[in-house]
């Protein structure tokens, strides 16, 4: 256990944890814990010396002898056992031995455990390219983490030193405790005690007396307990045990926390082989999974479960029963797969829910809950996306010192704790990828081509892309129009192509346009990261067309269903009348019970919408998986095995292995999520389906990437928290809530299905609740608050606040950048100055040397035996000045460096202090900036809602 902790905190760096030392740590894990936990000496120390002594048993020495040696050891550190050990060691040696053996076995077990854990830890740390603790501090974040840990250690250490070297008279730190030293300690304790008693009579000033009193009391408290004397002993032992347990618990918790991050190892593994851009997709996927899990929890816990448990059971009313006409095939797989039959008439879809105001013994307000969950899903998504964006913006705003980028990579990248060959391979890969990434960055930053040409090419490329988009937009519009006309005519009269025209056109566009964009973007010569963003943006625009057709088609369908519904309503009254007539003839005691399956019913457009979305998600998922299997896996198999018997080199030639398509996958994910947001209101099962899909995707794609893709040629660095993805997600979220809200607000719900049946509009459920479930005054207050006279000014104020915050944040940003730039230029200037100074110094040194030798020569020649006092003094002057120049490092120690421009260290110092002054300034600015950004985002969220 302790080892893990050490590995984490000691954040090895470099070879610093020399591996054999590390082994050593494993062997003696138990003993080192002692030092770490400070006050726990007593218990653990005993355990350890036992461990050592245990081995001695085999050496066949006398018990007494052993007792002695153990004794000495214990004393060296654990002063406290002094008396008891001394007294017991002769008579009770055998008994104590037994005791110790027990402890020893326990210790050994612990050792085993820690060994195992270390191994695991090792593998993990090796795997993750960034295993922060182990790397030699590269980024700020890491440094911060370390500092935190450092602090923790500090606390521990301080507790230790307190318990040990209070007053400083005790040399325990040296640890070489012998009998005499223990005696000394005892004497010191006695002395203190005496001091306290006689303090009153001392002729000292009051303050000194008080201080001494307090100090000696503390001292006594500590050491009485430690020495096993007085009543402090038990308290002390308890304290030690509690402390130890607490520390252990904290370590466990830390380890547990890191182990709890799902898929962390997988993602790190991928990152080390494919670079951070591919990893950023998987991180995004994991984030998405988290969101969907919460959405799923909401719908499942507040909508599906209550209806299934407390609502009326299946078959009790028409909306909960499969109609007579469909009963025959309701259990067929084909029907179920299409979400018809029993699946359609279940909690999975809107139509199943009853409009009963309160259900079950809990009086659960089902329709209200349904409505609020629908709204809450969207609101929560907005909040999460915006919050994440704000957080990412904060992180970007920090900025770190990259002036020694390469040097740090060079000197600190290997993780010296890796002991597993497989992990070492991973680490190799990640170091290489890391270097490759920085090479790309470097090349990009140094690239200076013909700026006019690039500009022209970029404009041209954008023009081409725009043409492309406009063309495909028109095509989509044209095709949709045509299909609407066909639909009016009746689909049966048209050929297969005409019926499926829209779908075919959409998929063809989706297939070829991205390729075209790819080709066009090679004109632009952007940095790959920016190129990826452009690519994403363009495909995004294309997909919007897809979305547009889908929504148009859906709207048409809804309108058709609604007109159908009107017809059904008319028929309904006729049917009821007929029913009544039929029964009234037979007996007058009321209508004959009709089986709910026989009751005629409306088409329920809400369920239809939900079904559409579910089908879409399913087919989308299937296509993704199948393309993955065929496009990646089969292709990789083909390339790998047919390469033996093919005319050209398949691996490096034409088909080759596929690269991971980051942009396509990210967009797929984002659009998929958009569908979920749009459809979740009408099909509560959608989030559940999506969770399942993402879960499978994670494993399948991780596997596919590792097994059949090759890394991109130009691996580039992408931050794990990509705000660009988030921005697109936000746009999609906005776009997908629009139609959902539109249908909720403007279209009246179906008359015979769903929780809002019988109401004029779906949001009437709020009104109803306000009227019946709240006191009257509340409704009044609410109606006042929703008065346009109040709402409009409120919105105005909010807009003003957003504007103000935005402009302040902008200024802060600019100021931040300015200061950063200033720092950098100063840095560079200093470097230049240093170089100049060094060159000058070298020249001067030469000069001085020459001059001195000349002088000496002349002097030697001039004064043979009688030397002038003045010359000798001069001589001395010269030699000293020469010494000065010869040994600049000596000057430093003499403090002359600050006046002597010779020594570059001076500038170093100046530069440093300058930085120290400025950094807090920048930090403050940055903090202000962050606060503003945060406020802004919160306001935005409110405004949007």
């Amino acid at each position: 256990m302790f080892l893990c902790y050490v590995l984490k905190t000691a954040s090895h760096p470099f070879f610093l944890h020399n591996p054999f030392l590390y082994n050593f740590a494993v062997d003696y894990g138990g003993s080192s814990q002692k030092r770490e936990t400070g006050t726990c000496h007593r218990v653990t120390r005993a355990g350890n010396s036992e461990g050592e002594r245990g081995r001695k048993v085999t050496e066949e020495k006398s018990h007494r002898d052993k007792g002695r040696r153990g004794n000495i050891k214990e004393r060296r550190k654990g002063i406290k056992e002094k008396y008891e050990v001394e007294d017991e060691c002769d008579e009770d040696a055998p008994k104590r031995m037994k005791n110790r053996d027990n402890k020893k076995t326990r210790k050994n077990e612990e050792g085993e455990k820690s060994k195992r854990k270390t191994k695991i830890k090792n593998v993990k740390e090796g795997n993750d390219g960034e295993s922060d603790d182990v790397k030699w501090g590269r980024s700020k974040k890491k440094e911060k983490a370390k500092k935190k840990k450092g602090k923790q250690e500090l606390v521990e250490e301080s507790s230790e030193s307190e318990s040990f070297s209070e007053g400083g008279e005790l040399p325990e730190k040296k640890e070489g405790f012998t009998q005499e030293e223990l005696e000394q300690l005892k004497e010191a304790v006695d002395e203190k005690r005496k001091l306290i008693i006689t303090l009153k009579g001392k002729p000292w000033p009051m303050r000194k007396k008080l201080v001494t009193l307090r100090e000696s009391q503390q001292f006594l408290e500590k050491y009485e307990g430690a020495l096993g004397k007085g009543k402090g002993k038990r308290v002390y032992a308890c304290k030690v045990i509690v402390m130890k347990k607490w520390m252990k618990f904290q370590r466990d918790l830390e380890n547990f926390k890191t182990a709890c991050i799902p898929w962390e190892m997988k993602i790190k593994d991928i990152e080390s082989h494919f670079g951070s851009s591919v990893a950023s997709y998987f991180i995004f996927l994991r984030w998405m999974y988290g969101i969907n899990l919460i959405l799923f929890g909401l719908t499942f816990g507040l909508v599906m479960m209550p209806e299934a448990l407390m609502g009326k059971p299946y078959g009790s009313m028409p909306r909960k029963t499969v109609p007579r006409g469909e009963e025959g095939g309701a259990m067929d797989f084909a029907v179920l797969w299409d979400f018809g039959g029993y699946a359609q008439y279940s909690v999975l879809f809107y139509g199943y829910y009853n409009n009963q105001r309160a259900i079950g013994w809990l009086k659960f307000r089902m329709p209200l809950s349904y409505f609020l969950v629908g709204v809450g899903t969207v609101a929560y998504s907005y909040m999460v996306v915006i919050r994440t964006m704000a957080r990412n913006a904060n992180r970007d705003g920090g900025g770190d010192d990259t002036s020694f980028n390469f040097s740090w990579k060079m000197f600190t990248s290997w993780d010296y704790l890796i002991g597993n060959p497989e992990t070492a391979d991973n680490k190799f890969a990640s170091i290489t990828t890391n270097f490759k990434e920085s090479i790309v960055e470097e090349q990009e930053s140094q690239k200076d081509d013909n700026i006019h040409l690039t500009r022209f090419l970029r404009v041209l490329a954008n023009f081409l892309v725009l043409c492309c988009l406009a063309g495909s937009g028109y095509l989509i519009y044209f095709v949709v129009r045509r299909s609407q006309k066909f639909a009016l005519d009746g689909l049966e009269n048209h050929s297969w192509w005409e019926r499926n025209e829209v779908n075919m056109v959409m998929s063809l566009l989706g297939m070829f346009c991205p390729m075209m964009f790819d080709v066009i973007s090679s004109l632009e010569n952007y940095h790959p990261r920016i190129a990826l963003q452009w690519q994403l943006g363009r495909i995004f625009a294309l997909f919007l067309g897809n979305l547009y057709t889908f929504i148009i088609a859906l709207m048409d369908e809804i309108n058709r269903k609604r007109s159908e519904e009107d017809a059904v309503k008319l028929n309904m009254t006729a049917w009821e009348a007929g029913l009544y007539n039929g029964t009234s003839v037979g007996n007058a005691s009321g209508p004959v019970p009709v089986h709910p399956a026989d009751v005629p019913r409306g088409p329920c457009w809400e369920t239809m919408v939900g079904q559409e979305f579910v089908r879409l998600i399913i087919s989308d998922t299937m296509t993704t998986y199948i393309t993955l299997l065929i496009g990646d896996f089969l292709r990789a198999l083909f390339v790998r095995f047919f390469n033996y018997c093919w005319c050209w080199d398949l691996e490096y030639g034409f088909p080759s292995y596929s690269e991971f398509d980051v942009s396509g996958n990210v967009l797929g994910l984002i659009f998929n999520q958009g569908m979920i947001w749009m459809g979740a209101f009408y099909a509560p099962c959608l989030p559940a389906l999506n969770v399942l899909r993402l879960h499978v995707s994670m494993y399948l794609q991780c596997w596919a990437v590792m097994c059949c893709n090759v890394p991109q040629e130009r691996v580039f660095k992408a931050s794990g928290s990509n705000n660009f993805y988030m921005a697109m997600l936000l746009v999609i979220l906005f776009l997908s809530t629009l139609p959902a809200i539109y249908t909720i607000v403007t279209i009246p719900p179906s008359f015979d299905c769903g929780p809002f049946s019988g109401k004029n509009r779906m949001f009437d459920v709020i009104q109803e609740t306000l009227e019946t479930d709240f006191p009257a005054w509340f409704g009044k207050v609410f109606s006042y608050a929703s008065n346009p006279g109040l709402v409009l000014p409120f919105i105005l104020v909010m807009i003003l606040a957003i504007y103000y915050l935005q402009s302040t944040s902008k200024t802060y940003k600019v100021a931040n950048l300015d200061l950063k730039k200033k720092l950098q230029t100063q840095n560079e200037e200093n470097k230049k100055k240093n170089k100049k100074a060094a060159l000058k110094a070298a020249a001067e040194l030469e000069e001085a040397k020459n001059a001195a030798t000349c002088r000496q020569e002349t002097e030697c020649g001039e004064s043979g035996q009688d030397r002038d006092i003045t010359t000798s003094r001069q001589d001395r002057d010269i030699t000293t000045s020469r010494q000065d120049r010869d040994a600049p490092s000596q000057q430093l120690s003499r403090g002359k460096a600050s006046v002597n421009p010779l020594f570059p260290g001076l500038y170093t110092e100046m530069h440093l202090t300058g930085k120290q002054i400025r950094i807090p300034h920048i930090k403050r600015r940055a903090q202000q900036f962050l606060v503003v950004v945060k406020q802004m985002h919160i306001l935005c969220a409110f405004a949007l809602l």
Binding site: G150, I418, G905
Partner: protein, 195 residues
């Protein structure tokens, strides 16, 4: 093993080592038992092969350099004293050592000495400068054949460019210190359980 350690190691020796390295008595005996367990030849000294048997060092691309750091120039055996002297670089700096008066000779575990140790791993010819060639060698060890020579060369150039302050196209010890200024060497180059 523990008993062997204490029987084979004379008290005076322990005292001397204690003075030289600052380790405590029990630490020395513990390290001695580790030393003897590494010593497969059982002749009181460690050879390079003994070190290479440690898995962490065997797979470490810079393992040989670290092993070299244990051996005085021109020798291929290291005795316990030498072993301890090298390890002393990793002893944590204790609080009471920090405010010791600066006139006393620097202990082996000072920040400077720790950095010096790291520096020597890169400085093969011990001329107190890390040259471009030396950097290239280390890079080659770290990335294998995955990156072309040309690119490695540019990395080495960049590294020197970043760190070099006096324009001699190599990294001197002072410049090395400057580079790692922000790295918490005291903590990182300390092995806590040697406390």
């Amino acid at each position: 093993m523990g008993s062997r350690a204490s029987t084979l190691l004379r008290e005076e020796e322990i005292e001397e080592i204690k003075k030289e390295t600052g380790f405590s008595h029990s630490q020395i005996t513990r390290l001695y038992s580790r030393f003897t367990s590494l010593d497969k030849g059982e002749n009181g000294t460690l050879s390079r092969e003994d070190f290479q048997r440690i898995p962490e060092l065997a797979i470490n691309p810079l393992g040989d350099r670290i092993i070299n750091a244990f051996f005085p120039e021109g020798e291929d055996q290291v005795n316990f004293r030498g072993f301890m002297r090298t390890l002393a670089h990793f002893r944590p700096i204790e609080d009471n050592e920090k405010n010791k008066d600066p006139t006393a000779s620097e202990p082996l575990n000072s920040r400077n000495n720790k950095l010096r140790f790291a520096f020597r791993l890169y400085d093969l010819d011990r001329d107190d400068k890390i040259s471009r060639d030396e950097l290239l060698q280390v890079l080659r060890m770290m990335v294998g054949v995955n990156i072309s020579d040309e690119q490695l060369g540019s990395i080495a150039d960049r590294t020197i460019q970043e760190a070099d302050q006096n324009g001699d196209n190599s990294i001197s010890f002072n410049e090395f210190i400057k580079v790692l200024e922000k790295v918490d060497v005291e903590q990182k180059m300390s092995i806590r359980f040697l406390h």
